[in-house]
């Protein structure tokens, strides 16, 4: 029988029962919508995270005190959180210990707020190395300058602030040379960063950077670091540098057994791989949950096709009487089921794409991330394949039932 004619019969059948057809494919529509949404948002999230991590550069190695947490409730991981000190930096800086080290910086996090003439604001306050930050994030001051190694060594009370912090505290007034207060200690603003937004999960605009030595001494009263970052002279040397760092620190801390490390090292590349793996697994998991809804949808289609076969018993009898073979009848009903689910698939793809665009726009607007919509081409092809596959799978039984009908009984059927 001709494809064109099959298409015509099937669409007439579907049009005759418009609302029933739509309700039948609702399950398929929802399932496909969810698949497209998950895949699109998963792709968007992955792109975003990759982008953020790549903003940090792939030649970065981060050392944290304590041991790598094995899970969110791993309290033991916070032990030895004061293990990284200035002696470690000195050891790491030695060429014979870590030959591929390009630069190194320590960082501490200062909780609290900043104040200027009665205006108070709570930004992210880092005790850090402003030159190192400029090197890894590629972020430059729009006004003034940044502090340097001398300021760090002399524990100067200086600060570089982000564009948003400047706006909150100073408005349109000049900030350079003014004194802001952090925990009742005065810091002179020497620079204001250009507007940059999110880089490597850090909102540069919302940042206050002061020398880490000053932060340790004046604000926190500690002599350890929260994090030590180092740049490697090339991405190919990241692996060997991690080994060098571990060896050096174990030596410095008198540790023989790697299981007893009081620090852990992560590279941006490792983080990248890990996140890609997690997101991939999550996407697969969610997609398989959604696949259940497609099975339910498929059963719905099968049910309605069986009803349709019964309703059209006479039609089947007549078609057989005028010469339709069993195959012709089977194909007709199978085609109708596939058209039904395929239509559901197409509607689902459109819904899914529209919803993804809306969600990515909302994320962009309210979370400040550069979350771009990406149409999952693979997902769409998969969706078309899956939805027509569901039609074939769940349409075959009703179609066989139709084909098997005895023409005489079918013609007599009232």
């Amino acid at each position: 029988m001709h494809i064109k004619y099959s298409f015509k019969i099937a669409s007439t059948g579907l049009k005759t029962n418009k609302s029933r057809s739509l309700l039948t494919i609702l399950g398929i529509v929802i399932g496909i919508t969810a698949i497209i949404l998950i895949m699109s948002l998963g792709q968007g999230a992955e792109n975003l995270i990759l982008d953020q991590i790549q903003g940090m550069g792939s030649d970065m190695v981060v050392i944290r005190p304590g041991r790598e947490p094995s899970g969110p409730s791993d309290i033991g991981a916070t032990l030895f959180s004061d293990s990284l000190k200035s002696a470690d930096i000195k050891a790491l800086k030695r060429k014979e210990n870590v030959p591929h080290l390009k630069s190194i910086a320590a960082a501490v996090i200062v909780p609290g707020s900043v104040a200027y003439k009665g205006e108070t604001y709570s930004p992210t306050i880092f005790g850090w190395d402003a030159e190192f930050l400029q090197g890894i994030f590629n972020v430059f001051p729009e006004e003034g300058t940044i502090f340097n190694q001398v300021d760090i060594d002399t524990k100067a009370s200086v600060a570089v602030i982000g564009a948003k912090v400047k706006e909150e505290l100073f408005g349109f007034n000049n900030a350079i040379g003014e004194n802001i207060r952090i925990k009742n200690r005065s810091f002179r603003v020497v620079g204001v960063y250009e507007e940059k937004g999110q880089v490597a999960f850090t909102n540069i605009d919302d940042l206050v950077v002061i020398p880490y030595t000053s932060a340790q001494d004046y604000l926190l009263g500690i002599d350890h670091y929260h994090e030590v970052m180092l740049m490697v002279d090339g991405p190919d040397n990241v692996e060997v540098t991690i080994t060098d760092v571990e060896r050096t620190l174990r030596e410095a801390h008198d540790i023989d057994d790697p299981d007893k490390d009081d620090f852990f090292v992560v590279s941006s590349q490792a983080a990248l791989d890990q996140i890609s793996t997690i997101l991939g697994a999550l996407t697969i998991f969610l997609t398989s949950v959604v696949a259940i809804s497609l099975v339910v949808g498929g059963v719905g289609v099968m049910n309605i096709m069986l009803v349709s076969v019964t309703e059209r018993t006479r039609e089947i009898g007549l078609r057989k009487a005028v010469g339709a073979t069993e195959k012709d009848i089977e194909n007709q009903f199978l085609f109708e089921a596939v058209m039904l689910t395929g239509l559901g698939g197409i509607i689902g793809i459109i819904f899914g794409a529209v919803l993804s665009i809306v969600v990515s726009m909302l994320v962009k607007k309210f979370a400040g991330f550069d979350f771009s919509f990406s149409f999952p081409v693979f997902g769409a092809i998969l969706a078309i394949g899956v939805s027509t596959g569901v039609g074939l799978l769940f349409g075959i039984y009703p179609a066989k039932q139709a084909a098997k009908k005895n023409p005489i009984e079918a013609l007599r059927y009232e």
């Binding site: 029988m1 001709h2 064109k4 004619y5 007439t12 005759t16 006479r314 039609e315 009898g317 007549l318 078609r319 057989k320 009487a321 005028v322 010469g323 339709a324 073979t325 069993e326 195959k327 012709d328 005895n406 023409p407 005489i408 013609l411």
Partner: protein, 239 residues
Amino acid sequence: MALIEVKNLKKVYQEGETQTTALNGVSFNVEAGDFVAIMGPSGSGKSTLMHVLGLLDEPTEGSYTIADKNVNKYSKEEIAHMRNEEIGFIFQSFNLLPRTSVLENVKLPLVYSGIEEKLWNNLALDAIKSVGMLHRIEHEPSELSGGEKQRVAIARALVNDPKIIFADEPTGNLDSKSGEMIMSIIHNLSEKEGKTIFLVTHETYTAEYARRIIKLLDGKIESDKKVEHRHNSTDKFIK
């Protein structure tokens, strides 16, 4: 060689424990171009005979040869093609597809034939013209009267130019005026087109349009006679 040869045809229906014998050894020959009426009270096996002859049902026993082809030897698919090419059906209850135009209804047998699609329209229009329904081709069955529906059904039966027409109580659901028109068309199919026609009816008057009447009783042929005084297409139709 006769067009149709039936030898010792038996049909037994098995429903659970009970066996029903609908045909119990029926034999006859029909020459090409003959017009045969099959009569008998309900339960006599006339519908079963027509279904077997029309290839809608298989006999339990006996042989059936149509145009030198012994149907026992053919597959279901080949039987379907034979139904399509050799046979046209006219039913008591018309059996037109609802919500489908007259033109599309008449085209239906062509869909399952090997005939090229571009020829379908003209073949269908020719068949519709022969039953005088050209003015209604875009109408749906629900918009037609009973007589008109049956004329469309006849056009559908003719569209593949089959050798044999089976008419199962074609006037059973019609008033006498429409019935007269339908019988006159069927009469002309026999006289002018040379079709071989089987007409199942329980009305003696209708049966007398045929050349020959086979009467069945309890699954056997009770009588097989030539019709002495045939009606023709101009006769008044009496129910």
